[in-house]
Protein backbone atom coordinates (compact mmCIF):
# COMPACT_ATOMS: atom_id res chain seq x y z
CA UNK A 1 0.00 0.00 0.00
CA UNK A 2 1.65 3.18 -1.18
CA UNK A 3 1.39 6.55 0.59
CA UNK A 4 -0.40 7.93 -2.48
CA UNK A 5 -3.03 5.19 -2.16
CA UNK A 6 -3.50 5.93 1.54
CA UNK A 7 -4.00 9.63 0.81
CA UNK A 8 -6.40 8.84 -2.01
CA UNK A 9 -8.38 6.54 0.29
CA UNK A 10 -8.37 9.18 3.05
CA UNK A 11 -9.85 11.77 0.71
CA UNK A 12 -12.42 9.30 -0.66
CA UNK A 13 -13.58 8.27 2.81
CA UNK A 14 -13.79 11.90 3.93
CA UNK A 15 -15.90 12.79 0.91
CA UNK A 16 -18.12 9.75 1.40
CA UNK A 17 -18.88 10.87 4.94
CA UNK A 18 -19.25 14.50 3.91
CA UNK A 19 -16.35 15.54 6.09
CA UNK A 20 -13.43 17.86 5.60
CA UNK A 21 -10.19 15.93 5.16
CA UNK A 22 -8.61 17.97 7.95
CA UNK A 23 -11.41 16.95 10.30
CA UNK A 24 -10.88 13.29 9.46
CA UNK A 25 -7.16 13.56 10.09
CA UNK A 26 -7.97 15.25 13.39
CA UNK A 27 -10.13 12.28 14.35
CA UNK A 28 -7.57 9.73 13.19
CA UNK A 29 -4.82 11.39 15.17
CA UNK A 30 -6.92 11.96 18.27
CA UNK A 31 -7.02 15.74 18.00
CA UNK A 32 -10.23 17.68 18.33
CA UNK A 33 -11.69 19.21 15.16
CA UNK A 34 -11.69 22.99 15.07
CA UNK A 35 -15.05 24.71 15.23
CA UNK A 36 -15.71 27.12 12.35
CA UNK A 37 -17.19 30.22 13.96
CA UNK A 38 -17.23 32.67 11.03
CA UNK A 39 -20.89 33.63 10.77
CA UNK A 40 -23.01 32.61 7.83
CA UNK A 41 -23.72 35.56 5.53
CA UNK A 42 -27.05 37.35 5.72
CA UNK A 43 -29.29 37.91 2.72
CA UNK A 44 -28.83 41.68 2.82
CA UNK A 45 -28.33 42.14 -0.92
CA UNK A 46 -31.42 40.10 -1.78
CA UNK A 47 -33.53 41.92 0.81
CA UNK A 48 -32.36 45.30 -0.50
CA UNK A 49 -33.16 44.25 -4.07
CA UNK A 50 -36.63 43.13 -2.96
CA UNK A 51 -37.25 46.45 -1.20
CA UNK A 52 -36.31 48.29 -4.40
CA UNK A 53 -38.57 45.99 -6.43
CA UNK A 54 -41.46 46.71 -4.06
CA UNK A 55 -40.87 50.45 -4.50
CA UNK A 56 -40.78 50.10 -8.30
CA UNK A 57 -43.90 47.96 -8.35
CA UNK A 58 -45.76 50.46 -6.18
CA UNK A 59 -45.13 53.20 -8.75
CA UNK A 60 -46.76 51.26 -11.59
Amino acid sequence: MTPAFVIELLVAVAKAFGLEVGDVIAFATGRHPELQTASLPALDAVEAARAEAVARAAKT
Binding site: V6, Q36, S39, E47, A57
Partner: protein, 133 residues
Protein backbone atom coordinates in the same frame (compact mmCIF):
# COMPACT_ATOMS: atom_id res chain seq x y z
CA UNK B 1 -4.22 -29.21 -7.74
CA UNK B 2 -1.67 -27.17 -5.83
CA UNK B 3 -2.86 -25.65 -2.63
CA UNK B 4 -2.16 -21.98 -3.05
CA UNK B 5 -2.48 -19.81 -0.01
CA UNK B 6 -3.01 -16.14 -0.51
CA UNK B 7 -2.11 -14.00 2.44
CA UNK B 8 -4.69 -11.39 3.30
CA UNK B 9 -3.32 -7.88 2.77
CA UNK B 10 -2.37 -6.14 5.97
CA UNK B 11 -4.42 -3.01 6.45
CA UNK B 12 -2.46 0.17 6.91
CA UNK B 13 -2.47 1.43 10.53
CA UNK B 14 -3.43 4.87 9.22
CA UNK B 15 -6.47 3.54 7.37
CA UNK B 16 -7.42 1.40 10.35
CA UNK B 17 -7.24 4.36 12.67
CA UNK B 18 -9.19 6.48 10.23
CA UNK B 19 -12.00 3.99 9.73
CA UNK B 20 -12.14 3.20 13.43
CA UNK B 21 -12.37 6.86 14.31
CA UNK B 22 -15.13 7.41 11.77
CA UNK B 23 -17.12 4.43 12.98
CA UNK B 24 -16.82 5.49 16.59
CA UNK B 25 -17.25 9.19 15.99
CA UNK B 26 -20.98 9.11 16.67
CA UNK B 27 -20.73 7.66 20.13
CA UNK B 28 -17.35 8.34 21.68
CA UNK B 29 -16.94 12.11 21.61
CA UNK B 30 -20.25 13.93 21.33
CA UNK B 31 -18.56 17.32 21.34
CA UNK B 32 -16.34 16.42 18.39
CA UNK B 33 -19.34 15.03 16.58
CA UNK B 34 -21.21 18.27 17.28
CA UNK B 35 -18.27 20.29 15.91
CA UNK B 36 -18.11 18.19 12.76
CA UNK B 37 -21.86 18.54 12.31
CA UNK B 38 -21.73 22.31 12.88
CA UNK B 39 -18.86 22.69 10.42
CA UNK B 40 -20.68 20.65 7.80
CA UNK B 41 -23.87 22.62 8.51
CA UNK B 42 -21.98 25.85 7.92
CA UNK B 43 -20.83 24.59 4.53
CA UNK B 44 -24.40 23.64 3.67
CA UNK B 45 -25.63 27.07 4.78
CA UNK B 46 -23.05 28.81 2.63
CA UNK B 47 -24.17 26.82 -0.42
CA UNK B 48 -27.80 27.63 0.34
CA UNK B 49 -26.98 31.33 0.71
CA UNK B 50 -25.13 31.39 -2.60
CA UNK B 51 -27.97 29.58 -4.36
CA UNK B 52 -30.64 31.93 -2.99
CA UNK B 53 -28.57 34.97 -3.85
CA UNK B 54 -27.75 33.79 -7.36
CA UNK B 55 -31.40 33.00 -8.12
CA UNK B 56 -33.28 35.72 -6.25
CA UNK B 57 -31.04 38.77 -6.52
CA UNK B 58 -31.28 39.11 -10.33
CA UNK B 59 -34.93 38.10 -10.21
CA UNK B 60 -35.81 40.91 -7.78
CA UNK B 61 -33.69 43.37 -9.74
CA UNK B 62 -35.70 42.50 -12.83
CA UNK B 63 -39.10 42.73 -11.13
CA UNK B 64 -40.80 45.99 -12.13
CA UNK B 65 -44.50 45.24 -11.79
CA UNK B 66 -46.66 43.88 -8.98
CA UNK B 67 -47.22 40.69 -10.97
CA UNK B 68 -43.54 40.04 -11.60
CA UNK B 69 -42.74 40.85 -7.97
CA UNK B 70 -45.39 38.39 -6.82
CA UNK B 71 -43.88 35.72 -9.07
CA UNK B 72 -40.41 36.24 -7.61
CA UNK B 73 -41.83 36.32 -4.07
CA UNK B 74 -43.52 32.97 -4.72
CA UNK B 75 -40.12 31.46 -5.51
CA UNK B 76 -37.89 33.28 -3.06
CA UNK B 77 -39.67 34.30 0.15
CA UNK B 78 -40.01 30.81 1.63
CA UNK B 79 -36.35 29.83 0.98
CA UNK B 80 -35.21 33.19 2.36
CA UNK B 81 -37.19 32.61 5.55
CA UNK B 82 -35.92 29.02 5.80
CA UNK B 83 -32.35 30.26 5.42
CA UNK B 84 -32.79 32.86 8.18
CA UNK B 85 -34.11 30.14 10.51
CA UNK B 86 -31.28 27.79 9.53
CA UNK B 87 -28.66 30.50 10.02
CA UNK B 88 -30.02 31.27 13.48
CA UNK B 89 -30.09 27.59 14.43
CA UNK B 90 -26.50 27.18 13.25
CA UNK B 91 -25.42 30.20 15.32
CA UNK B 92 -27.16 28.70 18.35
CA UNK B 93 -25.31 25.42 17.81
CA UNK B 94 -21.96 27.23 17.62
CA UNK B 95 -22.66 29.01 20.89
CA UNK B 96 -23.78 25.72 22.45
CA UNK B 97 -20.54 24.03 21.40
CA UNK B 98 -18.50 26.91 22.79
CA UNK B 99 -20.43 26.71 26.06
CA UNK B 100 -19.78 22.96 26.15
CA UNK B 101 -16.08 23.57 25.55
CA UNK B 102 -16.13 25.84 28.60
CA UNK B 103 -17.95 23.21 30.61
CA UNK B 104 -21.08 25.32 31.03
CA UNK B 105 -23.31 22.71 29.39
CA UNK B 106 -22.83 19.04 28.60
CA UNK B 107 -21.46 17.88 25.23
CA UNK B 108 -24.73 16.03 24.68
CA UNK B 109 -26.62 19.33 24.93
CA UNK B 110 -24.29 20.82 22.32
CA UNK B 111 -24.86 17.80 20.12
CA UNK B 112 -28.63 18.28 20.49
CA UNK B 113 -28.23 21.85 19.20
CA UNK B 114 -26.28 20.55 16.21
CA UNK B 115 -28.98 17.97 15.54
CA UNK B 116 -31.53 20.80 15.56
CA UNK B 117 -29.58 22.49 12.76
CA UNK B 118 -29.96 19.28 10.80
CA UNK B 119 -33.72 19.42 11.31
CA UNK B 120 -33.84 23.01 10.09
CA UNK B 121 -31.65 21.94 7.18
CA UNK B 122 -34.35 19.56 6.02
CA UNK B 123 -36.78 22.48 5.74
CA UNK B 124 -34.17 24.58 3.99
CA UNK B 125 -33.43 21.82 1.49
CA UNK B 126 -37.11 21.41 0.72
CA UNK B 127 -37.55 25.14 0.16
CA UNK B 128 -34.51 25.37 -2.10
CA UNK B 129 -36.19 23.15 -4.65
CA UNK B 130 -38.65 26.01 -5.18
CA UNK B 131 -36.01 28.68 -5.68
CA UNK B 132 -34.17 26.72 -8.35
CA UNK B 133 -37.31 26.02 -10.42
Amino acid sequence: MPNIKIAAPKPSPIVGALLGALLLSGCTRPLDTAILAANAARDVGQVAHDLIESECLPAYRGANTPASLAAVDARCLVPMKAYRIYRAAWAVSVVAIQRAQLGLITPSEALAAAVEVGRKGAGLAASLTEVSK
